[in-house]
């Protein structure tokens, strides 16, 4: 059952093989104190939310949305397992709970309930043991700007009890590997955004952790820098490191990860290899048509058109899965106009993680 058992080796029996395990991991952020009322949790239930009154976090409760005074459910029972040596992706839109997940796994956020283990160490009861085994690359570079580049690495190593005689050669090797060796004695502020992100990767590696976490590592980087960062991450993966990366870029997850967990609103929707996930995507090209009125009115007529595999309405948006690519567009427009609606926008998406996400959530990734 445990996929990690496939990877048997000579490790001591106390260190479980799974790099990361989470069981029913939940995180609820209490409502804003300013709007907190004394009436107990039942009065803080988001108004209009389906589910059970007084039980924030029940399925159906939209997390990431902050009703006045209400609790925010960032994660509602995440179960997953990351294998040793795996490049694991957490893919989801902003507010899906990715950063909260990383926060819990890196001991910076306390889970409300459930357990999370890093190499068998519980994040809640043994945060020190967990920190010993992880390296973290934050969403935005946060180097110590009072220190130069090399000092950033050597001091970070010292925070892990590594003497500078060991750390300094290791830091220089990492800077060379990440192609920023010439910046060793530079101030951090003299580096570009991409170089700072590389410094963050070097910092996450300096104490040789078992698991590396990257939280949206390429947000805000130009395309070329992003590609070179991808190469670096591929290199780290090839060295056999366990990597967990969050991203809301479908392509990034697809190209880099061994397995991808698609998360939305604090829930795990899908978990598989990119190939298996894409096979699971509904067939055909997704044609999304924005209309001037309710798409329900033309839904039935659309379904009868040639080449239409499936059609759904979401308010004013009509989603059509077509096995004829974009050739269904003009008949769909005709049907819409016959139904008295104007077309305001049309978009096409090939079968992909994106169309899988849309099919599962009714929303787009970004």
């Amino acid at each position: 059952m445990h996929p990690s058992f496939l990877f048997s080796s000579h490790r001591e029996t106390h260190e479980p093989m799974a790099a990361i395990e989470t069981h029913a991991l939940r995180k609820v952020y209490p409502g804003a104190p300013a709007t907190k009322r004394r009436g107990g949790p039942s009065r803080r239930t988001p108004s209009g939310a389906p589910g059970m009154p007084g039980m924030p976090g029940m399925p159906g409760m939209p997390p990431g949305i902050r009703p006045p005074g209400g609790d925010v459910i960032a994660l509602q029972g995440l179960d997953l397992e990351v294998r040793e040596g795996e490049f694991f992706g957490l893919l989801g839109p902003n507010g899906a709970g990715k950063t909260t997940t990383i926060g819990i796994l890196t001991t910076r956020v306390k889970p409300t309930s459930g357990t999370a283990l890093i190499a068998g160490h519980n994040v809640a009861s043994d945060p020190v043991g967990v920190r010993q085994r992880i390296g973290v690359v934050p969403q935005r570079p946060n180097p110590d700007r009072s220190l130069n580049v090399l000092e950033n690495l050597v001091f970070h190593a010292a925070y892990f009890g590594i003497p500078s005689s060991v750390a300094t050669p290791r830091a220089n090797a990492l800077l060379a590997q990440l192609d920023i060796a010439e910046k060793a004695n530079a101030k951090v502020d003299e580096m570009s955004g991409g170089q700072q992100q590389r410094l963050m990767i070097a910092r996450a590696l300096i104490h040789e952790p078992r698991v590396i976490f990257l939280d949206e590592p390429t947000v805000g980087l130009d395309p070329q820098t992003r590609l070179s960062l991808w190469d670096i991450l591929r290199g780290l993966h090839a060295e056999g490191r366990t990597i967990v990366m969050t991203t809301h870029y479908m392509e990034e997850a697809d190209k880099l990860c061994d397995r991808i967990a698609i998360v939305d609103r604090g829930e795990l929707l899908e978990l598989d290899t990119p190939e298996a996930l894409k096979e699971r995507a509904p067939g055909g090209t997704l044609v999304e048509v924005s209309l001037s009125g309710p798409a329900d009115n033309v839904l039935e007529a659309t379904r009868t058109l040639d080449g239409v595999l499936r059609a759904e309405s979401h308010g004013d948006v009509l989603r059509v899965y077509s096995d004829r690519g974009g050739r269904v567009i003009s008949p769909v427009i005709q049907v819409a106009e016959e139904g008295g609606l104007n077309v305001t926008n049309v978009s096409l998406t090939e079968p992909s993680l994106e169309t899988l996400f849309v099919a599962r959530t009714g929303r787009k990734l970004d």
């Binding site: 952020y29 926060g103 890196t106 001991t107 910076r108 956020v109 306390k110 945060p127 020190v128 043991g129 920190r131 010993q132 992880i134 973290v136 934050p138 935005r140 946060n142 180097p143 110590d144 700007r145 009072s146 220190l147 000092e151 950033n152 001091f155 970070h156 010292a158 925070y159 892990f160 009890g161 910092r203």
Partner: protein, 256 residues
Amino acid sequence: MNVSVFFALLRRDIRVARKELLFFLIRTTMQPLLFVIVFGYLLPKMNFSQPGYQTVLLPGILAVSLSLSAIQSVALPMVQDFGWTKEIEDRLLAPVPTPLIAAEKIVAAMIQGTIAAAFVLPIARLVMGPIAGLTLAHGGEVALIVLLGSFAFSSLGMWLGTAIPPQQIGLMFSVIVAPMLFFGCAYYPWRGLDVVPVMKYLVLVNPMVYVAEGMRGALTPNVPHMPLAAVGLALVIIAVVFWVLGMRSFYKRAIG
């Protein structure tokens, strides 16, 4: 492990403080030194103050330098780090209990407070000229007051720096720090407040009073001052309260 990491953190702060020593000293000692020039040099020269006022003023100035720099050395980095730069996050990932990281910040600020006071003392003495009744004979008592005073104010800095929203940090100086300086018996002895009894007892909530009076007891014992035992006890209580508040507030900011 914890000890070696603690010293690594301390080494980092000392390295950074050394790079910025001049700016640090200007930032934290400018205000007390200007006071020394106006009240310890100009006014006596104009005969606007009584002879002996400098004896009262000097320990107070040292107390202000110590306290102000101890507060600032923690509060400002905390506000910056948690507010926007997030730079402290590399230290929050260190494999040690989170309160140890806060404790190190407090110790670093105690050292900086002590340096600021040690820097001000000779300059003040130089500007004001010979000061009647000043003695360095009670070194142990001076050290104790410096230790307790810097501990209390660094802990206060930790609390303020982590509990106050970053955009209101300016308010902290005008609403909390400034009244603390002016009603802290730094520029007049506590016994002088006999003339305004209400105030004499109101100011007892101000931790600065004990540092200033303690400095008087240790450096200028001939000036009427609070008993050192009372000063020591008050500072211990204040330090423990601020320590607990500061640690709790730091933890809340560090772990979501």
